[in-house]
Amino acid sequence: MTERLLTQSKAIAEAIAQEMERDQDVFVMGEDIGAYGGIFGATEGLLQKFGPERIMDTPISETGFVGAGIGAAMEGMRPIVEIMFADFTGVVTDQLINHMAKIHYMSGGTVKIPMVVMLAMGGGYGDAAQHSQCLYGMFAHIPGIKIVVPSSPYDAKGLMIQAIRDDNPVMYFFHKGTQGLGWMTPNPRATGPVPEVPYTIPFGVADIKREGKDVTIVSLGLMLQRSLDAAEKLAAEGIEAEVIDLRTVVPLDKKTIIQSVQKTHRLLIVDEDYKSFGLSGELSAIVAEEALEYLDTPVKRLAVPDVPIPYSRPMEQFIQPSLETIVANARGLAAA
């Protein structure tokens, strides 16, 4: 039996469609998610299947429609709200961090907010400072939001179904470069086997995408894929990297990371978000706090070096972790 291959964007759209069929209370709101199918294809074909009552194109009113998602969730529905680019969360941060994240807690557990906020993130294609950010680190700082970052079509589907069924707010950040879109840089890892039946992937369980003993690489999203490419190169040099895909930032699977570091004694974090005060620092801190005695050498973080994303290609490529810098840093760690 041959496996069915899907792009990540189609895997997401299928997950949503299957949940919408299963549960009438699931619906989608956002800009250009109807006829357009979502700028990054995550809702392609859904309008045709479910009609404009359940696939709702919205005005450019992120505070309005994300807030409306929260209200609908309070009434027992399960909205999926797309914010087209993670960068645009700035116009709706209040609803996300002060309401979506906190209402369950503030209500003493009496009110639930089962909603999914879906966002496209990441750069590398020349879209500059206001269209290339990741920002999951910023939202992970706020208690009350689960944070998902898929890095394969298989995971994308399972994590989306899990997100929709979760009774909590989930921010689901997919990388534009991992969607398998025809107009993005071709990416073989953006297409992969995806079972047709619905399935879930639990949150808080990192995936060891490749086992190794010399150095641990922890990553997510497009950088995870790049880390896998790097691991192949490293293997050719005789360095066996263990590559861990976080899959969810909140909850964070500390255990898998620590166990890997106990084995490899070396950790490289590869993150496309800004370096400071975010994910990479937290991971580095956790390992240093909880596995200090196993570290043969300091943890190394590769991330955007605390600059906005520049437009011009040489500069943008310089600030993103690249295959070369991942390989070089992993090699450096393995030799330390």
């Binding site: 505070t63 429609f65 409306a68 929260i70 209200g71 609908a72 503030m106 209500s107 003493g108 689960k146």
Partner: protein
């Protein structure tokens, strides 16, 4: 005035109940905080925004609501939730930070949630309006004849969230009633320097929805305007806007020195006490005697005392419970 005695009595009783709660909180709040006021101390810590003086608005609007209708309130929402029918004991216990409170002590005075009443409120100005839009959206999707009401201050009407919400409600033709309580101030900032129109009723035009202005000290006027707006929403004819001119009798929050008021301003507004105004009208009709008014007050004071006792006798949450309820 075609309203029946029963209706008026109900309105009178609800306003009296709100007043009794607020009057009592206005005393209790200072317990343990004086002589040198310390906001962190006492039986009720934190800010305290009382609804005193604005009772007619919440009362006149919520009189038309069923238990399954939605209300989103503000930072000043005791009146809204009482008019919606909250159990006073649970509300009081929440304000006292007790485990038996509406939110088990997690929310407090500004964050009252009662899912049975489809009620929520919060401390971020204007943020409840889009959430009410979402409540209304759910009703429409479920083909129900429920309505959602969003209360907001005149200050909140200058926030972007108001604009986005009104536009969405209009475009989607949702069963939403936005009720602007124009008490002339946002903390110390007067409407005259915050708002580009004299009345927010003008802003209905921007969304193509009906908008009316009413005397917010006159519960009958509020009742009548809300009747039309709620009925319209229930009939599926879409959102509308009410602006009620009112006044807060106790400053923005407890401790407000009110240096920004003009002389005599508050006193003259206090002459327009909504409870007195309705009482006079009822008395003129022979529908209320001084003795009856008195006994309503006694009854409400009693209810409040009972709620307070319940709150005081209730346990606090254990410290470690703070770690629970982050996720469902």
């Amino acid at each position: 005035m075609a309203l029946s005695k029963e209706v008026l009595l109900d309105l009178y009783r609800t306003m009296s109940k709100i007043r009794a709660v607020e009057d009592r909180l206005g005393v209790v709040y200072y317990e343990g905080k004086l002589p040198a006021f310390d906001i962190a101390a006492g039986v009720i810590p934190g800010e305290m925004h009382l609804y005193t003086g604005q009772e007619a608005v919440a009362t006149g609007v919520c009189a038309h609501l069923r238990k399954d209708d939605w209300v989103s309130g503000t930072h000043r929402s005791h009146g809204h939730i009482i008019a919606k029918g909250v159990d006073l004991k649970k509300m009081m216990a929440e304000i006292f930070g007790r485990k038996t409170g509406l939110c088990h002590g997690y929310g407090g005075h500004m964050h009252l949630f009662d899912p049975d009443l489809h009620f929520g409120c919060g401390g971020i100005v204007a943020a409840g309006i889009p959430q009410a839009v979402g409540g209304a959206l759910a009703m429409k999707k479920h083909n129900e004849d429920r309505v959602a009401v969003a209360f907001l201050g005149e200050g909140a009407a200058n926030a972007g969230a108001f604009h986005e919400s009104m536009n969405l409600a209009a475009v989607w033709k949702l069963p939403l009633v936005a009720v602007i309580e124009d008490n002339l101030y946002a903390i110390s900032v007067p409407k005259t320097i915050s708002t580009s129109v004299e009345s927010n009723v003008k802003r209905g035009v921007a969304y193509g929805i009906p908008a009316v202005q009413v005397d917010g000290q006159d519960v009958i006027a509020v009742y009548e305007a809300a009747q039309e707006a709620v009925a319209r929403a229930r009939r599926g004819e879409g959102p509308s806007l009410i602006e009620a001119a009112c006044y807060r009798f106790r400053g923005h929050f407890e401790g407000d020195a009110e240096g920004y008021l003009s002389k005599g301003e508050k006193e003259s507004w206090k002459e327009k006490d909504p409870i007195v105004i309705l009482g006079e009208k009822m008395k003129a009709k022979g529908w209320l005697t001084d003795a009856e008014a008195e006994s309503i007050q006694v009854e409400m004071t009693g209810l409040v005392a009972e709620a307070e006792t319940f709150a005081r006798e209730s346990p606090f949450p254990a410290p470690e419970e703070a770690l629970e309820n982050v996720f469902a």
